[in-house]
């Protein structure tokens, strides 16, 4: 027996030594892709690109988080879904992260002088993956599908066209009920990828949510449920063909496991959600890897319900006290864990938005908060904040805010809600003081359309503030950006002065990438989604 124990202990020691002795990583063929040949080294964007080797089968491996429920772009437009759609479909036009327009299935458009309609000219000779021709009927089908479908914000974003017309196969006319300046921008959001009308109409309900037939540079070859999407290059693509023959999008929900797969060399690029991982990547903690930061317009803030049965938040002193009680700098430092992912927000729009107005952050001053409440005769103020989030960092932020508010005598109970209860609470105005994340498109109307009555959102502007409501109504009716920017800036100022919204922090989207992967910002959209369309 003693000998057996000694042998066992010796084995454990040897094992420990072996574990500690390993260091560094080497790229190895992915265990899940035994047929994948060796990937050629790709030059980084800082070096002169070499001519790619011929006859080498190239696979790009993307590590995503949650597997989408289905492939219907009217229902799912998270990070992983966006990557899938960018590969398999096209927009009419697309905006890169700088806001530059790139025409895809459209070649141009004209807005009527009286703002009554938009005429879109389509690209000829484009084919869907099944060989069907792309025509204006497919565009109309997409628009009407979005408008007639109550699913999510696709409906909200598209309710403002009256009718459509297709005078010839490559021209589409879209008539507005009332001119909507953000309409053009919205055509570059995920619900408006174009699919084949003929195929969609013939497809079963199951096919519509599990298969895709678009015009994109890749086609969906296989959906290994629970594991990955396998996309193969479309050799009949109308545009420039990307370098990679195949794109595999893996679903690895656990961030630690995802980074382990990245470290093992089984992924070329993956989403990074933990700030500590960002710090480690930036400090060279992973061999041949770095962090790629994509500046987005994601903003987290504290919004108050202004119109509903809950009257507690009408008193401005309460809102003012909350604003001065939240230590946004401290929250960002705590969340960042040494990285620069989060920074204090200074307006209801992200600093990166073209209509941003620096209204200034509320000064962190707990004593001032206490004085405001005391002067207003408010003591032991208590409320429940319904929060919908699956982001643990946002939950941490909420808990820090809860602690900040406790210090000034305000008690905030946090109630985390699932999607259904949160939606219902928003509609029934039973979610006061919600900490939310907003991620908008290039057009600020994406943020403010929810404020304009008769919105069902809890962000609906207070009815007595007629100036704000008038500005909101006007902000979307002028075609020129300068006029709209001026109005949006006024809106931000009013929201700040009246404390209808307390911005807390802005964040960027981070990716772990192999240093030999040629990335630049053109490969990301304004929401930080990766577009795996690498050409060299």
């Amino acid at each position: 027996m003693k000998q057996a124990i000694l042998i066992l202990l010796a084995l454990v020691m040897l094992l420990s030594m072996a574990a500690c002795g390993q260091s560094g990583t080497q790229n190895q063929p992915a265990a899940q892709n035994p047929d994948k040949p060796a990937q050629t080294g790709q030059p980084s964007s800082q070096t002169t690109p070499d001519k790619p080797e011929e006859n080498v089968y190239r696979v790009l491996r993307y590590g995503g988080s949650m597997e989408p429920a289905n492939v219907d772009n009217q229902q799912n437009f998270g990070q992983v879904s966006s990557v899938l759609y960018y590969c398999t479909a096209d927009y009419l036009w697309f905006y890169d992260i700088e806001g530059n327009t790139h025409f895809q299935l459209a070649t141009g458009y004209e807005l009527a002088d009286d703002l009554s309609h938009l005429t879109v000219h389509l690209r000829e000779g484009v084919k869907f993956h099944n060989g069907n021709d792309f025509t204006g009927e497919d565009v109309i089908f997409m628009l009407e599908r979005a408008a007639g479908n109550f699913i999510h914000a696709a409906h909200v974003r598209c309710v403002d066209f009256e009718k459509t017309n297709c005078p010839d196969p490559y021209t589409v006319e879209i008539y507005f009920n009332e001119y909507n300046a953000s309409f053009i921008d919205r055509m570059s959001t995920p619900p408006f990828f174009i699919w084949d009308k003929e195929w969609m109409e013939a497809a079963t309900d199951e096919q519509k949510v599990t298969e895709l037939n678009g015009t994109g540079p890749y086609y969906l070859d296989e959906w290994v449920v629970g594991t990955k999407y396998v996309l193969k290059r479309n050799d009949n693509y109308w545009g420039e063909k990307p370098l990679y023959d195949e794109v595999d999008i893996f679903f690895i929900p656990e961030p630690a496991t995802r980074m382990m797969e990245f470290e093992l060399g089984n992924l070329d690029i993956c989403e990074v959600t933990q700030p500590s991982t960002v710090t480690k990547l930036a400090n060279g903690g992973y061999d041949n890897s770095t962090v790629f930061v994509v500046p987005t317009q994601t903003l987290v803030g504290f919004k108050f319900q202004m119109n509903g049965p809950t009257a507690d938040f009408w008193p401005k002193p309460v809102r003012e006290a909350i604003a001065h009680a939240i230590d946004t700098e401290g929250i960002c430092i705590a969340l960042n864990e040494g990285s620069d992912t989060y920074k204090p927000a200074t307006s209801s729009l992200s600093e990166r938005n073209w209509a941003y107005q620096a209204t200034g952050a509320f000064e962190y001053n707990p004593e001032l908060s206490k004085k405001i409440l005391a002067d207003a005769g408010i003591t032991n103020f208590e409320f429940t904040s319904g929060m919908y989030t699956s982001n643990p960092l946002q939950v941490s932020a909420a808990e820090m805010i809860q602690e900040n508010l406790n210090q000034v005598g305000i008690t905030m109970h946090i109630e985390t809600l699932n999607a259904s209860d949160w939606s219902k609470g928003n509609r029934e105005f039973t979610n006061p003081g919600v900490l939310v994340s907003t991620s908008i498109g290039l057009d600020p109307w994406d943020m403010f359309n929810l404020w304009l009555p008769p919105s069902t959102s809890i962000m609906r502007a207070p009815e007595e503030n007629t100036e704000l409501i008038a500005l909101l109504a006007e902000a979307n009716t002028y075609p020129d950006e300068a006029t709209r920017a001026a109005k949006f800036k006024q809106i931000q100022q009013i929201i700040h002065d009246e404390i209808y919204f307390i911005p807390v922090y802005e964040s960027s989207v981070n990716y772990a990438v192999k240093t030999d992967l040629p990335l630049d910002l053109s490969l990301f959209d304004f929401m930080g989604s990766f577009r795996p369309l690498i050409y060299k």
Binding site: M1, Q22, T210, G226, M260, E261, E263, D421, K424, T456
Partner: protein, 331 residues
């Protein structure tokens, strides 16, 4: 005995129907619904009502339940997923086998390792072996399985590169998930075996067996073990159930699309029909596990076997008693 088994198998049907009824009632009571989840925060109440009507969710509770059960019995269908729009069977069938592999392999491993170790620990009571075993049990019962899984990943997949980190396409992919699931149940089973054995070996009949000159092996394995195993078998049955239900953590960490992750996703999406389907499958499986556990009892304890067999003779006795009373009246 065969009649007993058949009777137990038939009892699975009302048990599963009861589980479905209970789950349906819970779904009915809970606020929110799949229609609201699918339509999002911007949907109007009218849109929600329309979608609910389309999905048949506006019908009375018992009508929905009866319809579901009738469809299940007549066609074997578990309905169509609200979110995926495909038959629930088609969704969950490919997810059953990864979870089953992890659950059954971990149950098997924990049994074949834990029982001998528990016996050794009991028969070498208060020795270094016994203390080491106790320490082992405490450590692995205390470590959360998700933490253990991440530790194992870091060591064996990343540092040593002996096994893959995630996925399920080869047998090697299952090594770490099975190992992480096995350890907690192994520790518990070993501990239960040890304490049960210690209790049994102190019984008078064991002392008698020893004094009769039987070898220690005979005393332990022929006389003590069978009696000691009854609570252990109960525990193993419970662990199988817990592994099935608790597999979501291991499946998430190792990116294995099993029943656990499917269930959690369905709950988050308010896809009740899928949740119901998975619970039906799990409930059926657990009922079978309970039956197997009861049959193992019969194997281990002849008294229980006699009880199962004797349950068929009870009726004739009652009938005989009734007959005597009737006879008395007619005389």
């Amino acid at each position: 005995m065969i009649r007993y088994v058949i009777k137990r198998i038939l009892w699975i049907i009302p048990t599963v129907l009861g589980v479905i009824l209970l789950l349906s009632a819970i779904n009915e009571i809970m606020p929110g619904g799949p229609a609201e989840s699918m339509l999002g925060s911007q949907a109007t109440p009218e849109a929600v009502a329309e979608l609910e009507k389309e999905m048949g969710l506006d019908r009375p509770f018992f009508v929905q339940y009866a319809d579901y059960v009738w469809t299940l019995i007549t066609t074997g269908s578990l309905g169509n997923s609200y979110v995926y729009k495909m038959p629930v069977w088609k969704m969950i069938l490919p997810r059953i086998w990864p979870t089953a592999v992890i659950t059954l392999c971990s149950a098997f491993l924990s049994t074949v390792i834990a029982i001998p170790l528990g016996i050794l620990s009991a028969t070498r009571h208060r020795t270094i072996f016994d203390y080491s075993g106790t320490l082992f049990c405490i450590i692995f019962k205390s470590i959360p399985n998700f933490w253990l899984a991440l530790l194992l990943l870091s060591l064996f997949a990343v540092k040593l590169r002996w096994v893959p980190a995630s996925g399920y396409s080869t047998p090697a992919h299952f090594i770490l998930p099975i190992f992480s699931t096995t350890m907690a149940s192994l520790a518990g089973t070993m501990r239960m075996t040890r304490s049960s054995m210690l209790e049994v070996v102190r019984q008078d009949y064991i002392r008698t067996a020893k004094s009769k000159g039987l070898s220690p092996r005979d005393v332990t394995y022929r006389h003590a073990l069978k009696n000691a195993l009854i609570p252990v078998v109960t525990m193993i049955g419970i662990y199988v159930g817990m592994s099935l239900a608790g597999s979501v953590i291991v499946e998430t960490i190792f990116a294995i699309p099993g029943l656990g992750t499917t269930m959690v996703k369905a709950i988050n999406q308010n896809d009740y029909i899928v949740t119901q389907g998975i619970v039906t499958v799990c409930g059926t499986f657990l009922t079978i596990v309970t039956l197997i556990t009861d049959l193992v009892y019969a194997f281990l304890d002849p008294r229980i076997m006699a009880q199962y067999k004797g349950s068929n003779k009870a009726r004739p006795k009652k009938q005989r008693a009734a007959g005597k009373l009737a006879g008395a009246g007619t005389t």
